[in-house]
Assembly symmetry: C2
């Protein structure tokens, strides 16, 4: 097999050097390029400065075969990437009529007038392949220069990522002499060290495919990567490894397709036609907002109540004053009543509730920050789990949502197989 093609990612933007944003574009590109046989060896970030940018490009072309640039393609005066790179390669910037029409259409659709400076975005280096932007105004482009390839993409991640995924990956895929196929196993309900102990012999014993774990925000992901001649060969190399890992970790493996927990749980609800409603306290609507990220969820999700205050828990959701006074809002009794009542009120198959202390305020001697109850009610019964989470308000709210989604997922796996 051939060697890895070397790539450098060159981001242009003072906002990165000022620390206003993190370079998530480089992360996205780096994660995907190996699929088409390209290894990322360097990331560079430089400001909107033509001379420094030129030096960086020169260096990048020395040490890499492929240079992917992000940023500096917008309408403002600061945006100088195209001008600099065109000059570097001795190419003119020429008007790309189709791109201009797209930009004009973009403004028309929004009922706004296109200002003059927006036209600048439709000028592209002559002889380059144009990459359409369906989520913004600045198109990207691919410049082939001898054996080297330079690609320019806009800086906003919501524009860059679809352009990269839909066009750039396809461009390299056609040229690749070997492929890298990766599968991501998503795991919830077991810590990284505990998981590693269960499969350490697999991790140590593999060379192709390789297995690499990483932990993030209360979840664990396993990346399984095979080097192969085509997708089918890759899948054949990976399949027995996935089977063995699922064998050992069981239902903790919630996706073998890198889906997140809301996708998996949402699809299970839709597939089994299980209607559901939520009553949320400390998560304040986050659980509902996550499940409604899934297109088509309206088939099973009717609605929720965010019952932040005790008055609303009692007045609107009908939790008994007695329960609230005796056990408090953060208790399994309250969580259970919330789940049972929301299920009745919204007339759904399942009712799920969340109540807890996300901090920074609200803790008492017996009820520390991170104490959370999640309850699930069906027509026969109501179950409740106590969670003891750590971290800041954000982490606790996020982790609560993951636990609630996982509780629903495991309920469905148990009752609907």
């Amino acid at each position: 097999m051939d060697e890895f093609i070397k790539a450098e990612i060159l981001a242009v933007g003072t906002e990165l050097l000022m620390g206003q944003i993190a370079n998530t574009n480089a992360q996205h590109i780096s994660a995907r390029l190996p699929e088409v046989g390209i290894g990322v060896y360097y990331h560079t970030v430089v400001g909107d400065n033509p001379s420094r940018l030129k030096d960086c490009l020169e260096l990048a072309l020395k040490r890499a075969d492929v240079v992917i640039m992000t940023g500096g393609l917008g309408p403002t005066k600061d945006d100088l990437t195209k001008e600099t790179i065109a000059e570097f390669f001795g190419r003119k910037l020429v008007l790309h009529q189709e791109s201009l029409q797209k930009i004009e259409a973009f403004f028309n659709k929004l009922n706004r007038t296109m200002t003059e400076n927006n036209k600048k975005q439709a000028f592209l280096p002559e002889g380059s392949l144009i990459i359409e932007n369906n989520n913004g105004t600045a198109p990207g482009c691919i410049i082939e220069d001898g054996k080297k390839v330079v690609i320019m993409l806009p800086g906003p991640p919501k524009e860059m990522k679809p352009m990269f995924d839909e066009t750039v990956i396809g461009y390299f895929s056609k040229k690749a002499s070997f492929k890298i196929v990766s599968r991501f196993l998503r795991i919830f309900g077991i810590g990284e060290s505990a998981m590693e102990e269960k499969i350490i012999d697999l991790i140590d014993g593999q060379s192709n495919p390789t297995i690499a774990p990483y932990a993030k925000d209360g979840e664990v992901t396993l990346r399984i990567t095979a080097r192969c001649n085509n997708g089918r060969e890759g899948e054949e190399l990976i399949k027995p490894v996935i089977d063995e890992i699922r064998n050992r970790l069981g239902d903790a493996v919630y996706s073998i397709d890198n889906e997140n927990l809301e996708e998996v749980t949402g699809k299970l609800l839709i597939k089994n036609n299980i209607s559901i409603s939520f009553a949320e306290s400390c998560t304040g609507g986050l659980l509902s907002s996550r499940i409604t990220e899934i297109p088509g969820i309206s088939a099973v999700f009717s609605g929720s109540m965010v019952t932040y205050s005790n008055e609303i828990k009692a007045g609107c959701l009908g939790v008994s004053e007695d329960t609230l006074n005796t056990h408090g809002a953060v208790s399994s009794s309250t969580a259970k009543e919330m789940a049972v009542n929301i299920r009745k009120q919204m007339n759904t198959k399942l009712g799920v509730s969340v109540t807890g202390i996300a901090g920074p305020g609200g803790a008492t001697e017996n009820k520390p920050i991170g104490l959370v109850y999640v309850a699930l009610a069906d027509e026969n019964d109501v179950a409740c789990t106590e969670l003891n989470l750590w971290g800041d308000r954000n982490r606790i709210r996020n982790n609560t949502v993951l636990n609630a989604l996982d509780m629903i997922r495991r309920y469905i796996l148990k009752n609907y197989k």
Copy 2:
């Protein structure tokens, strides 16, 4: 005044080049260095490879005065930063007794035995200043070499950030001959190009402070940066510029302290003691979850209803069947009834509602994806805004939330001054 001291941030770590994590360390360091008169000119990321690392360090020392390195200080074989850098400067690695004791104490506290490879972390280049690590095992260090300074810090952000904030900033603060003060103006309700046209003469005319715009997710931020001898002088340079921009852009400037819209709106609600509740359809709880990110919001926020289906809009929220049948769920009539009814049901000063088509499904001939109504009801009246948004489901939901928060903010500014 002296020239800006130039810095480069050199991150070492294959996990960055594999796209497993974003380089948030570089973001953190970049945001803080200007405070001590240091400008960040480059970020570089390189793998755990001694030869490439040496080349990168050599280049960094050519183009910068200060090089801040992160990563590769841990106990494993992959961690080669210190060895490579010591060799580069021709310095020995010598045992730092205090660091060794700290590492041993760290393991004792966790009731774990220190493995042999952990000792490696206590060896540091001779003649360097040691930076204590209170959140992990690998200490950092500062190497002064002529006029150049190289700083090594560990890779995990939870270790790196406190070491940087507590030690590195203090180290440079003593040496700084001038400072940089930045203020961030956050703007909503006007596009980037339209805003630039209104203040282009200011942007072009300034040298100190400078003004730089950038757009992100439907918002615009203006960064105003002054070079000065101290914080007070910086503020004095910046103030007239902020005043002039506010003069021209009016209430579109929602923060001069880089707060986000939920913070600004949440604080206005709390400060004026205005109770509020939400009825959400297409945002599915996202508006509620955003406002409940603000600690202390429970003083004014009681709860919400996510009324995803028409049955819940009618049955639980009391929107009239007649309105739903005549005008449809996505209409100003429905939005208004939702706002009025949630306000009554939750007994709050204001009621805010959202209904729209986030896509990908649900569009009709007269009601395209991105059509959204946001309504706000108080005791006297109910106002409704029609939005025509573009983008995917995620973007439309996010933008709807921003518009709803902005509607509340402007209502308070108008009625509570």
